[in-house]
């Protein structure tokens, strides 16, 4: 019996709660208590410094951070928490509040936030969110998740496009090769039997497709294409 009991206590998720508002704090505690495996090991209501000290001392599995007033330095706070907990890969940070725009969420996640629990979500889901963060998953409101994913896909897509020359037409690729050989527009026009204006037009198009305005960068793209 004793062994089972100790096993059960081992499985408990150590949660540290930061919330300066008594009213919201009581709601958070009530919601977290619905998760039998959740163990609230500490509550911080005062300053960010005291929160950071508690994280260092208690080494929680999940940090639930709620702040009613928007903090201008929230990213710095998140980075400080990440710095304390990052190496151990144990403590995970979840913010509670009114969900900010998607760009801000991406920025916050970049600063170490693993989850954002919207105040409008059913309180019963807070324990689920905490479990997800503990399992190293990400928790975000469902409606925001799709717009964030769209954003990420467009960024990754753009990233890939920037790095490939696949989008160039065969003629544009020939012009690019000539640029990589150090030829002037006039030399390119003579070699390709086209006018200088057409060369300029091709180069303008290449600039737009590769997202650059530098002829040297085009030459480097051409050199790179010859290497692999």
């Amino acid at each position: 019996m004793k062994k089972n009991k100790s096993k059960a206590s081992e499985k408990k998720i150590k949660v540290l709660v930061y919330c300066p508002s008594d009213l919201i704090l009581s709601g958070i505690i009530k919601a977290l208590e619905k998760g039998p495996e959740i163990n609230i090991i500490g509550i911080e209501k005062s300053t960010i410094d005291s929160l950071l000290n508690s994280i260092k001392a208690d080494n929680p599995d999940v940090i639930v951070f709620s702040n009613t007033d928007p903090l201008p330095n929230i990213k710095e706070v998140c980075k400080a928490i990440k710095d304390i907990t990052g190496d151990k890969k144990k403590s995970k940070l979840m913010l509670i509040g009114n969900i900010p725009p998607q760009e801000e969420i991406v920025g916050l996640m970049n600063s170490g936030v693993r989850g954002y629990f919207d105040l409008n979500e059913p309180s019963g889901q807070l324990a689920d969110a905490t479990r997800s963060i503990y399992r190293e998953e990400i928790w975000l409101p469902r409606d925001k998740m799709s717009s964030i994913m769209d954003r990420i896909i467009s960024v990754v897509g753009r990233d890939l496009k920037e790095k490939t020359l696949d989008q160039l037409t065969p003629t544009e690729f020939k012009v690019l090769r000539h640029i990589g050989q150090g030829k002037s527009n006039e030399q390119i026009a003579n070699e390709m039997f086209i006018s200088k204006n057409t060369v300029r037009s091709h180069i303008k198009s290449i600039y737009a497709k590769l997202g650059t305005h530098s002829r040297l960068q085009l030459a480097l793209y051409a050199i790179n294409s010859a290497l692999f």
Binding site: E103, V106, G107, N110, R151, V155, R158, D159, E162, K163, R177, G180, Q181, G182, G211, T212, S214, L216, Q217, A219, L220, Y221, A222, I223, N224, S225, A226, L227
Partner: protein, 123 residues
């Protein structure tokens, strides 16, 4: 007539979060000859391999003990596949902006160079 102020263009999230560089760095293992002056005034010339490069600058390892703001000249051999066998070189110049130590076994320093706008192709 008062001029209407143009609304400030919001920076793309991509630029803000993922890549603040103006140009894409290309990972190109190109042989390059680096020339410059050591702090004692002596000229040096060293061959190295470029780690990455863009029109803004380059990053590579160097044995020479140079300092920040040292003017360097890089000469890169353009692959013959691009020049149809013709020997062509690209000459770039710039100054060191950052230096990092590599692992303790190697004596090389990793050097980041910011290019000035002058470059030329050499036959």
């Amino acid at each position: 007539m008062t001029k209407k102020k143009k609304p400030k263009k919001q920076k793309d999230i991509h630029d803000q979060l993922l890549n603040r560089r103006r140009e894409w760095r290309l990972d190109m293992p190109l042989k390059a000859e680096i020339k410059g002056k050591l702090p004692n005034g002596e000229n040096f010339s060293e061959t190295t391999t470029i780690d990455n490069i863009s029109s803004g600058g380059a990053y590579f390892g160097l044995n020479a003990r140079i300092t920040i703001d040292t003017k360097l000249n890089l000469t890169i051999d353009i692959p013959s596949k691009l020049t149809d066998g013709k020997k062509t070189k690209l000459s770039l110049s710039g100054s060191t902006v950052r230096m990092e130590k590599t692992d303790s076994k190697k004596k090389k320093l990793n050097i980041a160079v910011h290019f000035n706008k002058k470059y030329k192709f050499l036959d």
